[in-house]
């Protein structure tokens, strides 16, 4: 009897002790599977979603609010003329294969990304670099052809992470980085596993293992979360299900911003959109809130220009384009289209475009514009709209952070050609002083808003559904990332 009691007590104590130890594994679902694991050789966001900050690190990095903070570079000096950046690296950084990360690796990574045969999807980030010099093993000097106020920002992108010559050959299937997690296994089509890097140079992760799963079907996503097959779903694809999760105490729902400015892209060189009055009429014909409610179930922040509303430099220009169909009709008449006109509305696959497109087409019909919808796959969209510029209107979310510079490229698919704006961007790039940059960015936002280059709709929201006990998840997505380095379970 005593023995039994003792056993029971021991059992109970073990149970309590076991219960108070926080869980150290996590299963995270995202919609798309990375096609391969090389963040420096393709544009697929899923690569960064899995690997950014977890496995790979750059000289600088984004934190959860989008601010640029030091990465493997602990600090840096910028020459007075703004063209030479001297980075001081952390000295104890090791790659996961046991080799050390030093200035040679930084030089290798940057030179590789800007080389002639580079397949880096964001090669433009490295365009201004003229030379990378190793000063000593912990110091590297980067020379630019002209001052570039966004250089440190550029180096924080997932495409600018530090890789090693020793492991570059197999990076697509066996990524070797310096991050707090090591790549462990990838069962293609099903899951990818990371394990904690116990030799990490910085603060060690609380989680020991992390499993990524890839579920793109909205119904399957709902089922996987409800059945508790996954602990976290970043970028939950079915906004209509969110209220149900919010009402369920097992889950928490985090809704944040992305860097995705969702716009009604307008072909500025194609008549009648080459006429400012017509573009202005379109802008007034659009009821943003109806689109956000109808297409996004209320998730999304209206924008009046091409800039992220959570950015401190954002200027609220919604007043330039309030919903006013009467005014839109008047503007169309003034432009010479009293009876409206017919144009194309070419939509890529995401639901914001397909659902939003239906709503916009009906709003445009109210003012006499007949937008003929055609649904395209991404590859077709890239070919027809982006490359051949064969479109009147389209709906796309531009997810690259701080991408207002695309308006300075007259060849870009919406074909906005404004010399003043182009000069402004040159000036912005050469300006490092924060106050000066803020003023220039405000001017840039105002110019494109008042030129009604595109219809500015809303900032794309991102929803994360997680079990109630998960802490430390990013709410916003300043870059595509599921940063697990500070994620933990509540006791």
């Amino acid at each position: 009897m005593h023995k039994l009691l003792l056993l029971a007590t021991v059992g109970a104590v073990a149970l309590i002790a076991g219960g108070s130890t926080a869980q150290t594994n996590i299963t995270v679902a995202i919609q798309l599977e990375p096609p391969n694991l090389d963040p420096t050789g393709g544009a697929a966001q899923a690569i960064d979603s899995v690997l950014y900050s977890n496995v790979f690190e750059g000289l600088t990095r984004f934190d959860g609010d989008g601010a640029v903070v030091p990465g493997v570079a602990k600090n840096w000096d910028i020459s007075n003329d703004g063209t030479i950046y001297t980075f001081n690296l952390h000295s104890n950084v090791m790659f996961h294969d046991g080799t050390s990360m030093d200035a040679e690796d930084v030089k290798f990574s940057l030179d590789r990304a800007r080389s002639d045969d580079s397949t880096n999807a964001q090669k433009g980030l490295f365009a201004g670099i003229t030379d990378v010099t190793v000063v000593d093993s912990a110091t590297v000097k980067v020379t630019l052809d002209q001052p570039n106020g966004s250089f440190l920002f550029n180096m924080a992108w997932g495409d600018a992470v530090i890789v090693a010559p020793e492991s570059i050959e197999n990076i697509a299937s066996n990524p070797i980085g310096t991050g707090a997690f090591e790549f462990s296994d990838w069962v293609q089509g099903d899951r990818l596993e990371l394990v904690r890097n116990d030799a990490y140079w910085g603060t060690h992760a609380a989680l020991e293992t992390a499993t990524f799963r890839f579920i793109s079907d909205p119904t399957a996503a709902f089922a996987a979360v409800m059945a508790e097959d996954v602990d976290v779903f970043v970028g939950f694809p079915a906004p209509e299900n969110l209220p149900q999760f919010e009402a369920d105490s097992r889950f928490q729902v985090l809704v944040g911003n992305t860097e995705g400015e969702t716009i009604l892209s307008t072909n500025n060189k194609m008549p009648p959109f080459d006429n400012l009055l017509v573009r202005k009429a379109v802008a007034h014909a659009i009821d943003r809130q109806a689109i956000i409610d109808g297409a996004m179930f209320g998730y999304g922040t209206p924008i009046g220009t091409h800039f992220a509303p959570h950015n401190p430099d954002y200027v609220d220009l919604l007043a330039n384009s309030p919903f006013d169909p009467v005014r839109a009709k008047a503007l169309l008449a003034e432009a010479g289209f009293p009876n409206g006109f017919t144009t194309t509305l070419k939509l890529p696959p995401p639901s914001y475009a397909r659902r939003g497109g239906e709503i916009i087409a009906s709003q445009l019909r109210q003012v006499g514009i007949n937008a003929e919808i055609s649904n395209l796959e991404w590859s077709q969209w890239l070919e027809e709209v982006f490359k051949a510029k064969d479109f009147g209107l389209s709906i796309v979310s531009h997810t690259e952070p701080m991408d207002i510079g695309i308006y300075a490229n007259p060849e870009y698919y919406f074909q906005y050609d404004n010399a003043d704006f182009q000069a402004l961007m040159v000036e912005l790039n050469a300006t490092a002083d924060p106050a000066g940059r803020t003023a220039l960015l405000a001017e840039a936002q105002t110019i494109i808003s008042e030129d009604y280059v595109n219809g500015y709709l809303f900032e794309l929201a991102v929803a994360t559904v997680a079990k109630a006990g998960v802490r430390g998840l990013w709410v916003n997505q300043p870059t595509a990332a599921v940063d697990l380095t500070v994620v933990s379970w509540a006791d």
């Binding site: 397949t119 293609q188 089509g189 399957a220 409800m226």
Partner: protein, 314 residues
């Protein structure tokens, strides 16, 4: 029998050649540049050109076709552009989900359909016939993805007997089999409904044949005659349907694999098409066509075994 087999074999080879040409041409003329898909909207022209030459897209079409066909003969399907691994490895991984799933579903559907069809035929017009035929009517009408979603709702979300999807691998065969159970049932039910109806009508046809009357005249009961003589003869149309169904189950798992997020061939091809990973699409489709043709070949040969008249005729 030998001449019959040889004739079938030649038609198999010709089908394969025609199929490879059609697949290659159709897929190559689909609009969409794989390089620009992979590099996204910020890619520069020189980067795109570098990637295109890395993928061999700057080679002429005919050269690429022959490279592809010759490679396949050597078991080399080329390298996936997006996954950057050999296509043969991708297929080898995925086939261990899709093939067991198809076989599992086929076994389930046969296990359901045979008894149901035989019972319905032997009790024609009775209560069990009416019930079975009513059920199969529903089974034929309801699409398998709807079954799949309802089963997830009941067995994964409410009862928690199964996980909602995913595949843990074959390292633990029971776990692997368990994760394929809901998908296999949802694939099997509509197939079973079709098969049961074919089985029933084929049997009823047989029951009107002279040899059944002879068997009855010899003193066999109705069900003895049915089991000993009618069932075997009713198998020919049923076998044809099973052959077609197997091909359908292997290739047609695309939607079911999406719903249960299973890493099978269907999902691979789905992802490859949207990513314009043409080499993967071509190879997987070719493999599926090859399977369909081989299964049909096997069915043709089985006919000859079941029905001796076919052997002599050719």
């Amino acid at each position: 029998m030998i001449r019959y087999t040889i004739a079938r074999f030649f038609s198999l080879i010709i089908s394969l050649i025609v199929a490879s040409l059609v697949i290659f041409l159709v897929i190559e003329v689909i609009p969409g540049d794989p390089a620009s898909f992979m590099l996204g909207i910020n890619a520069r022209e020189d980067t795109l050109a570098a990637l295109r030459s890395e993928m061999g897209l700057d080679q002429p079409l005919t050269l690429r076709y022959f490279d592809w066909v010759i490679g396949m003969f050597q078991g080399d399907f080329g390298n996936s552009w997006t996954y950057k691994t050999p296509v043969s490895e991708l297929i080898a991984d995925r086939i261990w989900v899709s093939l067991p799933l198809a076989i599992y579903a086929l076994i389930l559907s046969t296990l359901i359909a045979f008894p149901a069809g035989i019972v319905a035929a032997s009790r024609r017009g009775g209560a069990s016939d009416v019930t079975i035929m009513g059920a199969t009517q529903m089974g034929v009408a309801i699409p398998n993805f709807w079954f799949a979603m309802i089963m997830v709702l009941i067995f994964a979300i409410n009862l928690r007997w199964f996980s909602a999807g995913g595949f843990p691998g074959w390292s633990n065969p029971l776990q692997g089999l368990k994760s394929l159970t809901l998908p296999a049932i949802s694939l099997a039910l509509p197939q079973a409904a079709i098969l049961a109806r074919i089985m029933r009508s084929s049997l009823l046809d047989m029951l009107l044949e002279d040899f059944i009357r002879t068997a009855r005249a010899k003193g066999l009961t109705r069900s003895q005659a049915l089991w000993r003589h009618a069932v075997r003869n009713a198998l020919i149309p049923v076998l044809t349907i099973i052959g077609l169904q197997f091909s359908f189950l292997l290739a047609g798992g695309i939607i079911i694999e999406q719903i249960f997020f299973l890493p099978g061939l269907g999902r691979l091809i789905f992802q490859a098409i949207s990513a314009r990973d043409l080499i993967v699409v071509e190879s997987v489709v070719m493999l599926l066509v090859f399977t369909v043709i081989m299964v049909n070949f096997a069915v043709d040969i089985t006919y000859a075994i079941v029905d001796p008249r076919l052997r002599r005729k050719s």
